[in-house]
Structures are given as structure tokens and as C-alpha cells.
Amino acid sequence: MGRYFFNLRYGTDPGRIAIDPEGSVLPDAAAARAYALQAARDLIRRGRSDAVRDWFACAFDIVDAAGRPVLTVPFSETIPDAAEE
């Protein structure tokens, strides 16, 4: 188990990142990825924001409790590839 922080990158400008101050405790990086995809789906569906024109251009930069990058999950990955369907 570890605490993972889901920093939301919502534009190419370096300032356009919303730092997650609280994080979530999850078993491993795979669980963090699944959490990020679920969060992304939720935001795409319900997260109308003044600051985000296109949720599919956004990504989660996941970092661990030490601030080390774990992985990046683009919101576009919420849509399965055509080959998988």
C-alpha cells in the first residue's frame, strides 16, 4: 500500500496543473492507474470547468509520497482502442 497523488495537468503551460494535496492510499501502481482512469471518466462526464476546454487533452501525473513520478495517465486512455472493441 502507498499514498498516491493525482496531479491534474490541464494544459501545456507548466502552470496549468492542479496539485493533489491529499492523495489516496492504494495497493500499487496498477491500482493507481485504474483509479486515475475512473477519475478521468468521472471528470469527462460531470466536470464542466471554466478552465478546461477539452478533457481529452488532460492527463494525470501520478506521484508517490516521496514526490517521485509513478506514471502519467492521459484522459484519452479512457477510450479503448478500436482494435480492442
Binding site: S24, R46, R48
Partner: protein, 237 residues
């Protein structure tokens, strides 16, 4: 509550009622601390006590298998438990819990029912309060269907600010996430945008209101209609 006079309470309903009605209720009122997270009403369970809030904020939530979201907010302007008891039932489908710690005057449902049956003026006042809850819930439905996260968050913070003292609100992103019915990152993003506009400042687990007028600009038409109806129906106290 034997030594507490009507003017000493901070609850606006207790203050707004006629002195005779307050005198009828007074022997039944007991001081209750409201710790953070305390459930005041459980969904589909009999309501045994009602609460006139003096301080703190209670959140009314709708629950489903997918989770829960806030559908109403009550503070010192109101009471918890009015909807089922005043409308002749003993339970509701929604739940209610303490969102910001505070204190209340607790009264058994049977005592309140007896008092409203005996006093048309008390009954009328509390029914008008029930109407304000309905107005707020309908307006919340409109706001959730219409406005962006930033606007909804601004409205929610204003509503919280109205019900608390000072400018510092103890609110974690996790709880705001449930309040707005959106994933936590959506709250973080909306908070960041409100901070950028200068309306608030955020520290870990707290939101500080810096500029209420700026928040009102962001909240726009989402805020004010339900509050105006409260003023019309109950008054300013």
C-alpha cells in the same frame, strides 16, 4: 435549556418564533454538541430527534449504490428533521450528517409534533421553513444541471460562509468532492481557479474566504435566489 432566553440562541428559527411558542418548546430543548461527521438522520430510519442548529453546518445527502452527493445544507438558519416530522412522516430517504462541527438544540420528535399541533403559529413558521428547504433543493438541482464546477464551488462556499463565523472554513477536498458530486481532482481544479481569481486562499484542509464579492461574481445567478426566499419566508432574525 432552562436558563437560556430566546434572544440568547443563535438559531434563527428559535429567534423568529413567537415568545409563547419558544416557551412551549424550551423545556424540551437540550444542548447537543455536533462533532464533525456525526450522523443526525439516517436514511429510511425513524427520526427520533430534531436539531435547531446554533452553529456548524449539516449536510443533507442523497445516497445510491454509486455513492452519495449533497442535496441540501442547513446551519443556524434552520433545523434538521423538519421535513419528515412537519410533513407527517417519521423518516426520509435522504441522510444528514455534520459537515462542520458546531452545536444545536435537540428536541424529541414527539415533543415538537405536539407543540406544532397545539400552536398554529409555530406550525406555520416551521412549514415555511420546510418550504425554504424545498426552494434550496430545487435551486441546487438547477445549479447542478447548469453551471460549471467553479460556479458551483463558489456558491457552496458562500452558503457555508453564510452559516459560519469568520472566514476560515475547515473543508477537505475529499468532502468538497462529495458536496459537489465530482471527483476530488475536479475540486482541486476548481479551488485553484477560485484562488487565481483572488476570492479564496486554500491551505491543507481549510479554505479561507478572502473576497466575498469576487466569489459572488463567480457564483453569479447560482447564488442568492434561495437566500432571498428564506428572507421572504422567515425573515432576517
Amino acid at each position: 435549556m432552562d436558563h437560556t432566553a430566546q434572544r440568547d440562541t443563535r438559531n434563527q428559527l428559535l429567534r423568529a418564533m413567537r415568545a409563547e411558542d419558544f416557551a412551549t418548546l424550551r423545556p424540551h430543548l437540550r444542548h447537543a454538541e455536533l462533532p464533525l461527521g456525526e450522523p443526525l438522520i439516517r436514511s429510511h430510519q425513524p427520526v427520533e430527534d430534531l436539531y435547531f442548529l446554533d452553529s456548524g453546518v449539516a449536510s443533507i445527502t442523497a445516497e445510491a449504490s454509486q455513492g452519495r452527493a449533497e442535496v441540501g445544507m442547513t446551519g443556524r438558519e434552520g433545523m434538521v428533521g423538519a421535513v419528515p416530522v412537519l410533513l407527517g412522516s417519521d423518516r426520509v430517504a435522504s441522510a444528514c450528517f455534520v459537515q462542520i462541527a458546531g452545536a444545536a438544540w435537540r428536541i424529541p420528535a414527539a415533543a415538537l409534533s405536539a407543540a406544532t399541533e397545539a400552536s398554529p403559529s409555530l406550525h406555520r413558521l416551521l412549514l415555511r421553513y420546510v418550504q425554504t428547504e424545498l426552494v434550496q433543493a430545487r435551486h441546487t438541482a438547477y445549479v447542478n444541471a447548469t453551471f460549471t464546477l467553479e460556479t458551483r464551488l463558489a456558491r457552496w462556499l458562500l452558503m457555508c460562509h453564510d452559516r459560519t463565523d469568520g472566514d476560515d472554513l475547515p473543508l477537505k477536498h475529499e468532502c468538497l468532492s462529495m458536496m459537489l458530486g465530482v471527483q476530488r481532482s475536479g475540486v482541486t481544479l476548481a479551488l485553484q481557479n477560485l484562488k487565481g481569481g483572488g476570492g479564496i486562499r486554500g491551505r491543507r484542509g481549510r479554505v479561507q474566504i478572502l473576497d466575498r464579492e469576487r466569489l459572488r461574481l463567480v457564483a453569479n445567478a447560482s447564488y442568492g435566489a434561495a437566500e432571498a426566499e428564506y428572507a421572504r419566508l422567515i425573515g432576517g432574525a
